[in-house]
Symmetry: C2
Subunit: 495 residues, 2 copies
């Protein structure tokens, strides 16, 4: 039996539409002091615009309305004031743009699908936007080796669709797959729901080509799985949020497409039981495990209430979504049933259901993926955190928050298999929840950004998860790659 | 059915014994001109030794015989002349040593198990050897999350044995596992036979603690699978061969231990058919595929002739070893049989056998792993290359060599699933095989070092696989981390 992979882009598009209409009044960001001063960069002049036109022709925007989607972030909480959006078609054009900007001391923000959640891909002031959206060609696909080389502007979902026809799959999948681009994915070291199966982009990305601040090309576009020839420079660009260079091409390992997908939803009475599920699932489902997601009762109730979705199980304190992807449907189904039976017999779970159709699978996934959307409809201010915590601390932060701040509504859900919690707190109070959560995370040895990055919103908090020595070395590396600091200023590193 | 993992350390130890007695006259290295001059470092004095003794006590060696295994490389082709081996017990001691050496301008070579194959871990002149062998403690093991944190001197096989009891496994396995150490594995970005299953150390290593040249500590020992807080500095140390700092602690993701292992050996009439096997195996065996190794007839004949091993199949131009590792023995066996049947029906293979016992599995693996050993017994000079090539070029280099240099014996074998060829050439002629192979690899877009690194032997050839721009940036990063260049001089980067 061959099952089509679930498309999550539909969900994403719906979410985005909601965000456009609602978020201007409903989201609170972990943002920094408003008194941030513009850096001493030059301002764009008519001469500059004429020069840019000589490079990209008509592929530039200067009309305020046209530029609006580029000037604003995905959550619509940031509003930049760039005077120009440049949409180069080639790496060479990016070189010409950056060489000129560097000479003129013009600040630049590289942009992909602009779907980031930490304000990393849109201008803070009037930085020139260099969008790689038009650089969306497939350069090569080595089907036998499973290696794709493409331009940075390729949309993740399009790549996945193209690979699907060849029996291959992208090693990452995000809710924003219909808009996000591979260059941005690499620049933000995107995680997502296939992480537990295919691991980090630090392992999957084989090579990149990037244009540095001075317009020179750094070609590390090795299409090999192994290449131990000196320092692995491309790794620095994975997660650097465009502050070290503009990624224009990417080589990435693409695994065989799973032929069978199975999805189960189980309910559990305590977080301790959830931990047991994680351990048992990893051990029993092992190589076919492709997702373990946790949702607490508050998260599921939010979806049920705001979006009228049906929870197929009796209400309980926790739920877990377990997905398997493998090469044999019957084998995988048998493994999943054996697993469910085992955790049921051990009295680890209260109840469970295994999807028997694609429709049922989608319904189960929808409960997990619509949580953020339901929060938007709920309409109260909310703060969203993306934390890495050890399993023993994973849910303790939610319990502590509820004890400490009973007036708040705290929702805990996320990629529990990777130790990644998406903690969301709705509150109308003036209490500094942001500091409380980030301090708590620091004190418990967690990471304040698991997969979203630091961008503009969180760069001042870098010391919560990195040492002075590490940040100092990062700053020196930044100076090495971008001496004038023209690339994506005010992001990633503290000011 | 539960199968024990194959131990390859026995093979390794036997190989090493042979090397000690034979290699001084049988190996030719890809080495550089002998006129290399010693850098302008200070020489070790009695005062220095007294100071070192105040740091490490009796854990230092100064006797020439005692130091011999540290001064020589694993292949016994290099002979350093260090005056002292320091064996610190703690990161703090490493700090004190490096701070002193940096102040005194004394060169240092960090050393783990000293099992590298490119002369990267032993002194070229009189560099002080800092061995991390005594730093072999487990710091923590998060069994639920599958995250191990340990000191750099832990031997790979010991870690694997410890994890095995907990139902976990190291994500890498090498022939030298009985001697090599995790700090060295990370510093050399070791590949090995589990690479196709668990990927690169760039994905598996979650954190490191390293001592920099000036004695300061860079603590990037995050134990989280996801941590997007700034540039991922640890990545620079993975494969830096100790030239940027001495890794003293490592956090690494450890997957669940497979419960079932199956091994098949098949024979094929052409390399084109071998490529088809790779594609079909990846697609059909997918998530349980844990090794695909290629051996040509010359490689297998060398083993049969020199070591009296039995080839269970009729002699043919190529052989492939295929291993699966999964969580269900019957499922995996069925998948493997279906695969073998399919490639047999499609007339892709000539013959094949599936091991029906651990003894048979070991016999099949032994054919693959004893090739280098058989070459040592053969006794002629040989050159060994570790190349990454696209599948279309993977074996073309062997054919081209045989056409170009008919007097040579060229053996082609390796990790074909990763595009990694271990090409070995025995020749008594004066022809410059080294230049021919490296130039060929460069011309065909390959990497001159897939998994062994550059070390001392190959650092001058870095431009064959890296651009001027990339090497220039690497040199600047080296200067940033180690301004005086005291760490592992004459290695990795060109002089």
């Amino acid at each position: 039996m061959l099952l089509a992979p679930l498309s999550r882009s539909v969900v994403h598009k719906a979410s985005r539409a909601l965000l456009v209409t609602r978020c201007q009044f409903s989201i609170t960001c972990c943002c920094r002091a408003p008194e941030l001063a513009r850096g001493s960069y030059s301002k764009v002049t008519g001469v500059d615009l004429a020069h840019f036109r000589s490079i990209v022709g008509n592929n530039m925007l200067t009309d305020t309305t046209d530029m609006q989607p580029y000037n604003t972030d995905w959550l619509r909480t940031r509003q930049g004031k760039s005077a120009v959006v440049l949409r180069p078609h080639t790496t060479q054009q990016v070189c010409q743009i950056l060489e000129y900007c560097n000479d003129r001391n013009l600040a630049v923000v590289p942009q992909g699908g602009n779907t980031g959640l930490v304000g990393g891909s849109n201008p803070v002031f009037d930085e020139i936007i260099v969008s790689v959206s038009l650089m969306n060609k497939i350069i090569s696909l080595d089907e036998a080796a499973g290696i794709l080389t493409c331009e940075a502007g390729c949309v993740l979902e399009s790549l996945d669709a193209m690979l699907s026809d060849k029996g291959l799959v992208m090693p990452l999948d995000l809710a924003s797959k219909g808009s996000c681009q591979i260059g941005g994915n690499v620049s933000t070291n995107a995680g997502g729901i296939r992480f537990i199966r295919y691991g980090s982009l630090h392992g999957s990305v084989l090579g990149i080509k990037a244009v540095l601040a001075d317009g020179s090309i750094l070609d590390c576009l090795s299409p090999h799985r192994k290449n131990n020839t000196g320092y692995d420079l491309k790794q620095l660009f994975i997660g650097a949020e465009g502050t070290l260079g503009v990624i224009t091409e990417v080589a990435i390992a693409v695994p065989p497409k799973p032929k069978a997908i199975n999805v189960a939803l189980v309910s559990i009475e305590s977080f301790d039981k959830a931990k047991q599920i994680v351990v048992k699932a990893k051990s029993m489902l092992s190589e076919i495990l492709s997702a373990i997601e946790l949702m607490d009762d508050e998260s599921v109730e939010m979806v049920v209430k705001q979006l009228n979705l049906v929870n197929p199980l009796k209400r309980s304190p926790f739920y877990m979504l377990i997905e398997t992807s493998g090469s044999d449907y019957d084998h995988d189904k048998q493994k999943l049933h054996t697993f469910i039976e085992s955790v049921f017999n051990d009295e680890i779970l209260i109840d469970g259901t295994v999807a028997s159709s694609i429709k049922e699978m989608k319904s189960i996934w929808k409960i997990r993926e619509e949580i953020s959307n339901a929060l938007m409809i709920d309409g109260r201010n909310f703060l969203h955190f993306d934390l890495s915590l050890s399993l023993s601390n994973y849910y303790r932060i939610v319990d502590d928050l509820r004890n400490k701040l009973p007036a708040c509504t705290a929702l805990g859900f996320g990629h529990i298999g990777d130790g990644n919690l998406h903690l969301t707190i709705t509150s109308d109070s003036e209490i500094d929840i942001n500091s409380y959560v980030l301090e708590w995370t620091k004190r418990h040895g967690g990471s304040i950004s698991a997969e979203h990055g630091l961008g503009f919103d969180k760069c001042q908090y870098i010391y919560h998860s990195q040492s002075q020595k590490a940040v100092s070395l990062m700053s020196n590396i930044k100076k090495l790659f971008d001496p004038k600091g023209i690339l994506n200023p005010y992001k990633t590193l503290p000011l």
